[in-house]
Amino acid sequence: MVAINVNGTTREVDVDPSTPLLWVIREQLSLTGTKFGCGMAQCGSCTVQLNGRPIRSCVTPVSAAVGQQVTTIEGLAPSDSELHPLQQAWIAHQVPQCGYCQSGQLMSAAALLEANPNPSDDEIDKAMAGNICRCGMYGRMKAAIKTVASASYYDAAATADGSKA
């Protein structure tokens, strides 16, 4: 048995410790918002956060998540009644088309803004370069990220609790 904490809840799963985190999240925990795209860390569809940093769960063994905090798309919103500002911006900019890559895109973008509330265009490009969108909504994603950055959501949050910089 392996115990992992996903979105604040610790769960025990009966899998080989070398099983990629992706399949544990999807099949054992039934959190299907995280997607399989390539299986070799090339496309970013499987991106989740490990202690706030974006990782490719398709190549991360579940054993690497033991004792860590895993956040998936289902845990991105601050509460059931409120979306994360990036999710709101994604709707405002009508970003998704097929939508399949969007969980991974949002987890990468959220990790970026958490670490760097006011990224430059180049910094956005670098942070998002690991996430492919075959519908090609790069321009809309970039615009949505900049909307949230300029709204200073993260600056305000950092001031409020002093822990985020």
Binding site: S30, G37, Q97, G99, N131, C133, G136, G139
Partner: protein, 755 residues
């Protein structure tokens, strides 16, 4: 279809102008079995096949197309809601189930009668023929950029208008006032003189008793209130919080997982299988071989090679098992061919021109060429391309003694139902297809190969089975955009006028008009020869336009340059009788500041493409840095008649451009020894955010019939890019992709000489 009755789905003679099935009343206690689940509670009346009106005055539009990113449900609902004068806030939509009643024959009309505007008077008789055709072919297809211009135009709008008329008539009767005095607005009916006002729902039952008009009056564009306005897509909120359900997200109780490997060589077979080690992997339940079979493609049928499947209690166990199989494949000698062999074959077959078929021929091409002041000649080649939808191919199927249930995301639910029924030896009625959001379609998800595998495995395992392909399988077992070659000669007089245009290419598919050009030219000869390969092919976003758009719009540029003229002006001069084409080209050129200097190492290229009923002009700006092509900006102008959903149209153009740009920059499936050499995104790359250009889309609303949106953005980007690279460097790219080593070497040489 004798099961259709007055109270059933379709009233006799009520088929009109492409309205797919102009049904009128499905009510509790009197239901067509296949539609019964759509009437989910007793308070509802299905007034019309296309619209369900419940007692809360809510309207549900039933959409016979699949969602693969294009926002089809929202746009089609806009069309119906507008004609119905519905309150948009009360409108939602559901995808139609895969049953015969939803075979979309107006799609058949669009395919069979391309470009023909049917007078309303004859539409019913044409439709009467086509509905039978569509049902016989099991067409429930989303493709060909047809949803809005066929289903929307002939189905949704007519349906909305017909229901509105029935409601108005019903209210007039109930209130005992003339029909002309009843008005409809925002889902309410009103009679001004008496001050009566009531919601649509109050008259739903009465309206359902009536026979709808064969020719309801449609609005003119100035009367639109919902069409042409910005509305948010209904499917987007679920796509930002992970709750949108794709087929791979389906979990059926007791379900097993499987992954597969097919013979890598098309036409190959299984020679040896040792599964001892695979069966030893924790969780593996079985290893099953499926024989080679015929699988119907979108444009032809192909032999699906033999398949080995590992079935397990999780995908990862199945994958581990698959990797431990010891497999040997046989491949017949005649398919052990390479891409280079095939291009050599194309070159030979074009030169021999045996059995050349003309698409169009006028004037005296040979005479014009022999008497020309200059003759421009060029050959172009494009490679095979995979679709690489973000969601790898997958399907979940549960076969039981009583029937079969399927969970899939596909572009053709009825076709899938038929293919699965055939494979299982069942009647189609025993197969239920649940269609889900598609993680990309692009033409790939019209083919049922993976779903048939899941059905056969479920039948053998006696349990529900979800088959998930690895990305490697997805890249190597596609139905590819065909590689083809095209050869041109252009004859010029001493003033650079285009006297003749001669073009021969290999392997014509669809649409037939893809190689044609809009430019006026005295003598014209466009034709093709057959030069088949063993590589399975299928529809790929914009189909033959993806190849011919590159060829023709590159060659007209070469002709303009040879004539010593500006490529934009040269095109404009040959579009004198085509005001829509001129307007689109002019819009893109002006918005992109055509003609203003860009500086060293930078260039602009232009293209114009008519496809799927829409006109798109593109201007691309590039920078060349050390042999690398950076696309800085794309300015697009589109005339799709009327933009039903302007932001949706803009998003589709952006998407089509990026999809085409990925292919132009990187896309190449290479055949070696009869099999695909590439395997995943590291060697079959996709454009990523750092390389994505700024895209500006300009919409022109003309009075032309509504055109397509999903595909028209794709064909024009490759030629505009190649033309821009030429403008910047003088290097003419005639074989895609741009990442080919010889292109890079030429551009590096240019960089070195320019430095």
């Amino acid at each position: 279809m004798n099961k259709w009755t007055r109270r059933g789905l379709l009233t006799t003679g009520v088929i009109f102008g492409g309205g797919l099935v102009l049904g009128i009343a499905i009510r509790p206690g009197n239901r067509t079995p296949g539609l019964a689940p759509l009437v989910t509670d007793d308070g509802e009346t299905l007034v019309h096949t296309w619209v369900k009106l419940d007692t809360d005055n809510r309207i549900t539009v039933i959409v016979p197309h699949s969602e693969m990113g294009q926002g089809v449900g929202t746009a089609l609902s806009q069309m119906l809601a507008d004609e119905l004068d519905a309150d948009w806030n009360l409108v939602s939509f559901e995808e139609a189930p895969a049953i015969e009643e939803f075979a979309n024959h107006s799609l058949g009309q669009g395919f069979l009668l391309p470009g023909v505007e049917l007078p309303a008077m004859i539409a019913p008789s044409v439709e009467g023929v086509l509905i039978k055709t569509a049902q016989a072919l099991d067409l429930q297809i989303t493709g060909g950029s047809m949803s809005i211009r066929a289903t929307g135009q002939y189905g949704m709008r007519v349906a909305g208008a017909a229901v509105r008329e029935l409601l108005v008539e019903s209210a007039a009767e109930a209130w005992n006032v003339p029909v002309s005095e009843v008005s409809a607005s925002k889902s309410y009916l009103a009679h001004e003189a008496s001050g009566r006002r009531a919601p649509y729902s109050e008259f739903a039952s009465a309206a359902a008793e009536k026979t709808p008009s064969l020719a309801p009056r449609l609005k003119t564009p100035d009367q639109f209130t919902v069409m042409g306005t910005h509305v948010e897509r209904h499917d987007i909120p679920a796509k930002v919080d992970g709750s949108a359900l794709f087929a791979m997200d389906v979990q059926v109780p007791g379900m097993l997982y499987a992954t597969v490997r097919r013979a890598p060589t098309f036409g190959g077979n299984l020679a040896k299988l040792d599964d001892k080690a695979a069966r030893g992997v924790r969780g593996v339940k079985d290893v099953i071989s499926l024989p080679a079979d015929e699988i119907g493609g979108t444009m032809s049928s192909f032999a699906a090679p033999a398949t080995v499947a590992v079935v397990a209690d999780s995908y990862w166990s199945a994958k581990q098992g698959l990797d431990k199989l010891e497999l040997e494949w046989s491949s017949p000698d005649d398919v052990k061919r390479s891409s280079d062999d095939m291009f050599a074959q194309f070159d030979r077959d074009i030169s021999q021109a045996a059995n050349r078929q003309a698409d169009i021929r006028s004037g005296d091409v040979a005479g014009a060429i022999s008497g020309a002041a200059a003759v421009v000649k060029a050959d172009y080649q494009v490679p095979f391309l995979a679709h690489t939808c973000m969601e790898p191919q997958n399907a979940t199927v549960s076969v039981t003694d009583s029937g079969c249930e399927v969970w899939v995301g596909c572009q053709n639910p009825l076709g899938f139902r038929s293919a699965i029924a055939d494979a299982l030896g069942m009647d189609s009625d025993a197969v239920v297809v649940n269609n889900h959001f598609m993680g990309g379609g692009f033409g790939r998800r019209a083919i049922a190969d993976c779903a048939v595998q899941a059905a056969l495995l479920s039948q053998k395992m006696r349990k529900p089975v979800q088959v998930v392909w690895s990305r490697e399988e997805d890249v190597r077992q596609d139905y590819y955009r065909p590689a083809i070659q095209s050869r041109f000669s252009g004859a010029l007089d001493e003033n650079g006028n285009l006297l003749a245009w001669e073009n021969t290419y290999v392997n014509k598919h669809e649409p037939a008009e893809a190689p044609l050009i809009p430019y006026s030219v005295d003598s014209l000869d466009i034709g093709h020869v057959e030069s088949p390969t063993h590589v399975p092919f299928g529809a790929w976003r914009s189909v033959d336009h993806s190849q011919h758009g590159f060829f023709t719009e590159s060659f007209i540029d070469e002709v303009a340059i040879a004539a010593g003229q500006d490529p934009y002006q040269y095109r404009m001069d040959r579009l004198k009788d085509k005001p829509r084409h001129r307007a689109v080209l002019k819009k893109a050129a002006e918005a992109a500041d055509w003609g203003t200097p860009l500086g060293s190492g930078r260039g602009r290229g232009i293209s114009l493409q008519e496809s799927f009923g829409s006109l798109v002009a593109q201007v691309v700006e590039v920078s060349l840095v050390n042999g690398e092509t950076q696309v800085d900006r794309v300015v697009a102008a589109i005339d799709a008649g009327v933009a039903v959903s302007p932001d949706g149209l803009t998003a589709q153009i952006e998407s089509g451009i990026i999809y085409g740009l990925t292919a132009a920059l990187y896309g190449e499936i290479t055949i070696e020894d009869g099999a695909v050499a590439e395997s995943n995104f590291h060697d079959y790359q996709a454009l990523r955010m750092p390389k994505a250009p700024i895209i500006e889309t300009h919409i022109i609303n003309s009075d032309a019939p509504i055109g397509g949106a999903g595909e028209p953005g794709t064909p024009g980007i490759a030629p505009a890019l190649a033309n821009a690279v030429f403008d910047a460097s003088g290097v003419r790219v005639r074989r895609l992709p741009m990442s080919r080593p010889e292109v890079k070497m030429q551009l590096e040489d240019w960089s070195a000489s320019a430095a």
